[in-house]
Assembly symmetry: C2
Homo-oligomer: 79 residues x 2
Protein backbone atom coordinates (compact mmCIF):
# COMPACT_ATOMS: atom_id res chain seq x y z
CA UNK A 1 0.00 0.00 0.00
CA UNK A 2 1.37 3.40 -0.98
CA UNK A 3 0.85 6.31 1.34
CA UNK A 4 0.39 10.00 0.66
CA UNK A 5 -0.18 13.03 2.85
CA UNK A 6 -2.60 15.75 1.86
CA UNK A 7 -1.69 19.02 3.59
CA UNK A 8 -4.24 21.78 3.76
CA UNK A 9 -5.19 24.74 5.90
CA UNK A 10 -8.96 24.65 5.86
CA UNK A 11 -9.30 27.27 3.13
CA UNK A 12 -12.05 26.91 0.50
CA UNK A 13 -9.51 26.04 -2.22
CA UNK A 14 -8.06 23.39 0.08
CA UNK A 15 -11.36 21.77 0.94
CA UNK A 16 -12.51 21.72 -2.66
CA UNK A 17 -9.23 20.16 -3.82
CA UNK A 18 -9.36 17.62 -1.00
CA UNK A 19 -12.83 16.51 -2.05
CA UNK A 20 -11.93 16.26 -5.74
CA UNK A 21 -8.68 14.47 -5.13
CA UNK A 22 -9.96 11.93 -2.65
CA UNK A 23 -12.74 11.08 -5.10
CA UNK A 24 -10.15 10.28 -7.77
CA UNK A 25 -7.66 8.30 -5.72
CA UNK A 26 -7.67 4.54 -5.77
CA UNK A 27 -8.06 3.81 -2.07
CA UNK A 28 -7.07 0.18 -2.59
CA UNK A 29 -3.62 1.35 -3.72
CA UNK A 30 -3.01 4.57 -1.84
CA UNK A 31 -3.75 5.48 1.75
CA UNK A 32 -4.13 9.25 1.98
CA UNK A 33 -3.59 10.91 5.34
CA UNK A 34 -5.13 14.37 5.62
CA UNK A 35 -3.33 16.97 7.77
CA UNK A 36 -4.91 20.33 8.59
CA UNK A 37 -1.91 22.58 9.24
CA UNK A 38 -4.06 25.24 10.88
CA UNK A 39 -5.23 22.78 13.51
CA UNK A 40 -1.95 20.83 13.66
CA UNK A 41 0.81 23.44 13.29
CA UNK A 42 3.42 21.03 14.64
CA UNK A 43 3.29 19.37 11.21
CA UNK A 44 4.40 22.57 9.43
CA UNK A 45 8.16 21.83 9.66
CA UNK A 46 7.59 18.31 8.33
CA UNK A 47 5.55 19.66 5.43
CA UNK A 48 8.18 22.28 4.60
CA UNK A 49 10.95 19.69 4.77
CA UNK A 50 8.98 17.55 2.32
CA UNK A 51 8.98 20.49 -0.11
CA UNK A 52 5.51 21.90 0.41
CA UNK A 53 5.48 25.55 -0.74
CA UNK A 54 1.75 26.15 -0.63
CA UNK A 55 -1.43 24.37 0.33
CA UNK A 56 -3.26 22.33 -0.69
CA UNK A 57 -0.49 19.89 -1.55
CA UNK A 58 -0.19 16.15 -1.80
CA UNK A 59 3.12 14.58 -0.77
CA UNK A 60 3.70 11.09 -2.12
CA UNK A 61 5.82 8.44 -0.46
CA UNK A 62 8.33 8.60 -3.32
CA UNK A 63 9.07 12.20 -2.35
CA UNK A 64 7.07 13.92 -5.08
CA UNK A 65 5.02 16.95 -4.13
CA UNK A 66 1.91 17.86 -6.08
CA UNK A 67 0.82 21.43 -5.38
CA UNK A 68 -2.83 21.58 -6.35
CA UNK A 69 -4.24 25.01 -7.22
CA UNK A 70 -3.26 27.66 -4.70
CA UNK A 71 -5.01 28.20 -1.42
CA UNK A 72 -2.29 29.74 0.72
CA UNK A 73 1.49 29.95 0.85
CA UNK A 74 3.31 28.31 3.74
CA UNK A 75 4.19 31.77 5.09
CA UNK A 76 0.47 32.57 5.18
CA UNK A 77 -0.20 29.27 6.93
CA UNK A 78 2.39 30.17 9.58
CA UNK A 79 1.20 33.75 9.95
Amino acid sequence: MKTATFYHAGCPVCLSAEQELLNLVDSSKVNVEVVHLGEQPKWIPKAEKAGVKSVPALVLDNGSVLHINHGASMSEVKG
Copy 2:
Protein backbone atom coordinates in the same frame (compact mmCIF):
# COMPACT_ATOMS: atom_id res chain seq x y z
CA MET B 1 -17.65 6.06 -15.15
CA LYS B 2 -16.38 9.56 -14.51
CA THR B 3 -14.13 11.18 -17.03
CA ALA B 4 -11.30 13.67 -16.65
CA THR B 5 -8.92 15.36 -19.04
CA PHE B 6 -5.27 15.84 -18.22
CA TYR B 7 -3.83 18.72 -20.24
CA HIS B 8 -0.09 19.05 -20.55
CA ALA B 9 2.52 20.45 -22.88
CA GLY B 10 5.27 17.87 -22.71
CA CYS B 11 7.35 19.81 -20.20
CA PRO B 12 9.25 17.92 -17.47
CA VAL B 13 6.88 19.18 -14.76
CA CYS B 14 3.94 18.02 -16.89
CA LEU B 15 5.29 14.54 -17.51
CA SER B 16 6.22 14.02 -13.89
CA ALA B 17 2.78 15.14 -12.70
CA GLU B 18 1.10 12.94 -15.30
CA GLN B 19 2.98 9.91 -14.06
CA GLU B 20 2.25 10.60 -10.40
CA LEU B 21 -1.37 11.40 -10.97
CA LEU B 22 -2.20 8.46 -13.19
CA ASN B 23 -0.63 6.19 -10.57
CA LEU B 24 -3.01 7.53 -7.94
CA VAL B 25 -6.23 7.55 -9.89
CA ASP B 26 -8.74 4.77 -9.54
CA SER B 27 -9.04 3.68 -13.17
CA SER B 28 -12.17 1.68 -12.38
CA LYS B 29 -13.94 4.93 -11.45
CA VAL B 30 -12.31 7.56 -13.62
CA ASN B 31 -11.27 7.47 -17.24
CA VAL B 32 -8.47 9.99 -17.76
CA GLU B 33 -7.87 11.31 -21.25
CA VAL B 34 -4.42 12.82 -21.77
CA VAL B 35 -4.10 15.77 -24.17
CA HIS B 36 -0.70 17.14 -25.22
CA LEU B 37 -1.46 20.76 -26.14
CA GLY B 38 1.85 21.15 -27.93
CA GLU B 39 0.99 18.34 -30.31
CA GLN B 40 -2.75 19.07 -30.41
CA PRO B 41 -3.04 22.88 -30.34
CA LYS B 42 -6.63 22.72 -31.58
CA TRP B 43 -7.54 21.68 -28.01
CA ILE B 44 -6.18 24.93 -26.53
CA PRO B 45 -9.47 26.88 -26.81
CA LYS B 46 -11.37 24.01 -25.19
CA ALA B 47 -8.85 23.87 -22.33
CA GLU B 48 -9.04 27.63 -21.81
CA LYS B 49 -12.83 27.55 -21.86
CA ALA B 50 -12.71 24.85 -19.18
CA GLY B 51 -10.68 27.24 -17.01
CA VAL B 52 -7.17 25.91 -17.53
CA LYS B 53 -4.69 28.70 -16.68
CA SER B 54 -1.51 26.65 -16.72
CA VAL B 55 -0.37 23.13 -17.43
CA PRO B 56 -0.32 20.47 -16.19
CA ALA B 57 -3.98 20.58 -15.22
CA LEU B 58 -6.70 18.04 -14.67
CA VAL B 59 -10.24 18.99 -15.68
CA LEU B 60 -12.96 16.91 -14.06
CA ASP B 61 -16.36 16.22 -15.56
CA ASN B 62 -18.03 18.24 -12.79
CA GLY B 63 -16.21 21.33 -14.10
CA SER B 64 -13.48 21.49 -11.45
CA VAL B 65 -9.97 22.29 -12.60
CA LEU B 66 -6.99 21.05 -10.61
CA HIS B 67 -3.82 22.91 -11.57
CA ILE B 68 -0.95 20.68 -10.48
CA ASN B 69 2.40 22.34 -9.87
CA HIS B 70 3.35 24.77 -12.62
CA GLY B 71 4.90 23.74 -15.89
CA ALA B 72 3.83 26.51 -18.23
CA SER B 73 1.16 29.16 -18.48
CA MET B 74 -1.36 28.94 -21.29
CA SER B 75 0.23 31.98 -22.94
CA GLU B 76 3.53 30.07 -22.99
CA VAL B 77 1.78 27.05 -24.44
CA LYS B 78 0.37 29.21 -27.22
CA GLY B 79 3.65 31.03 -27.82
